[in-house]
């Protein structure tokens, strides 16, 4: 088990499978709010669903409407269980807070592999392998 310490954006606990993107993610236009599928053309995770995953990505990009998309995903039950960033910016931070999704940043995401079992616990990220 590896434990990393980050910074809390929205505090909480979640455990699940990591879905790792090395590219930033745009929730507005980049993710289908009805299915949770990544639809941005050419994105490394295009076609994958973020629903129920621990979503690991460097930071958010695109329109600030993205915060409301995160909320819509949560209310539909297809949001990620938690989000882990290198540097959380306002779109993701505001989305995490209004949707109440455990989120931390200042994590070296290169330590996490796709499919790892990971746990977000307050400011801690545990990787089980």
């Amino acid at each position: 088990m590896i434990a990393l310490k980050g910074r809390i954006i929205w505090s909480g606990w979640a455990k699940g499978e990591a879905l790792v993107s090395n590219q930033p993610i745009s929730f507005y236009g980049g993710i289908d709010p009805m299915t949770g599928e990544i639809v941005e053309r050419g994105h490394e995770l295009e076609g994958k669903s973020i629903a129920g995953k621990i979503l690991v990505f460097p930071y958010g990009k695109g329109s600030t409407v993205g915060s409301y998309i995160i909320l819509r995903l949560k209310k539909r039950g297809i949001a990620p269980k938690a989000m882990v960033n290198i540097r959380c910016e306002p779109i993701i931070a505001v989305g995490a807070i209004i949707a109440e999704i455990p989120t931390i940043d200042r994590i070296d995401i290169s330590r996490i592999r796709n499919g790892d079992l990971v746990e977000v616990d307050g400011e801690l990220l545990r990787i089980y392998r």
Binding site: W10, T64, K75
Partner: protein, 395 residues
Amino acid sequence: MYLTKEEEEMLKGEYGYAAQKSMEILVALGKIYDAEKMIEIRSAQISGVSYKSLGDEGLEFIEKLAEDGKVRVPTTLNPCGIDLERWRELGFPEDFAEKQLKVIKAYLKLGIRQTLTCTPYLSGNRPRFGDHIAWSESSAIIYANSVLGARTNREGGPSALAAAIAGRTPLYGLHLDENRRPEIEVKIPKPLSGYEYAALGFLVGRLAGDKIPLFKGIKLISDEELKLLGAALACSGGIPLFHIEGITPEAKLNPKMSASEKYEVGLDEVREVYDELNDDDVEPDLIFIGCPHSSIRELIIFLELLNGRAVKKKTWIFTSRAAKNLGEKLGIIEKLERLGVKVICDTCPIVAPIKDLGIRSIATNSAKGAWFSRNLNGLKVRFMSIEGLVELAVK
């Protein structure tokens, strides 16, 4: 981050759910940007009003805030998805309008004014030089920062709403002197006019990215041109602030203002913008001005250019309720409508469910309007001068 006793109490929930949620958002933003404390704001402008972008989930969120929340500062609303008085006549879908009215009801319950315009500065929310404010809507942000010299970061709908409810925002970014300096000088080859400023803004936004530009070589520019320039800069570049030597207030205060990076705009580059924002062979279903919302002056200009000729194509002017009311008193609206022009309020071609109205192509003098019509609404577009639009409309 330092919080006052009152701010701590808000965060703990002693002022209720809405204040707590708002403070959570503001503290998180403050942490991300290393703000040392909060600063009180004088006004807020809220985007995220159209049901089209909010959906049921966004509506629910705002309704929940409205259960126990009230804004603490004068707060105005961005356009919504319908004209509140004419939506039936214009053919807006009934179910959409119903949801839209619910959104507005929730905002009103929060104590927000029903301005429904992207030009709050022409509708009674006009900040003064140096005022700290929390605004969303990129074209209004850039106008407030640049033309009025007020101070706001580029807020999104939820963070502006949070600031309005808490009456404060974290002190960082454009609230601080050191972050308002120009980062790139842009020299203009010759005097421009009207929609050429929209093209210039679109071009410079793209090349400057998020750097603050200082324009040189502009001697005369109207409020309406400043509005088009700013909207285009914010659209293509995400720029929240620009300066114009000798014209905008911060540049006037500091005549020696300069930046080390310099750029000279070529006229051929401006022309490329026209090419880029004009799809081939488009007979527009709709001709419009008013992105951002038309001022009373633009309503008058449009009427004068028509010169008594009736329009033969669907022609809409988007404006604020405030400007339309003034236009009615002056007899302008009646004259425009008699010539077949519809003057529409409370909404705009970007946030209205435009495709449901059977519109597949548009022509406009706004670079922002053209870009969003194409990229968000999937329409074919033409971008031209207001004179060109009038001639196209009467042909």
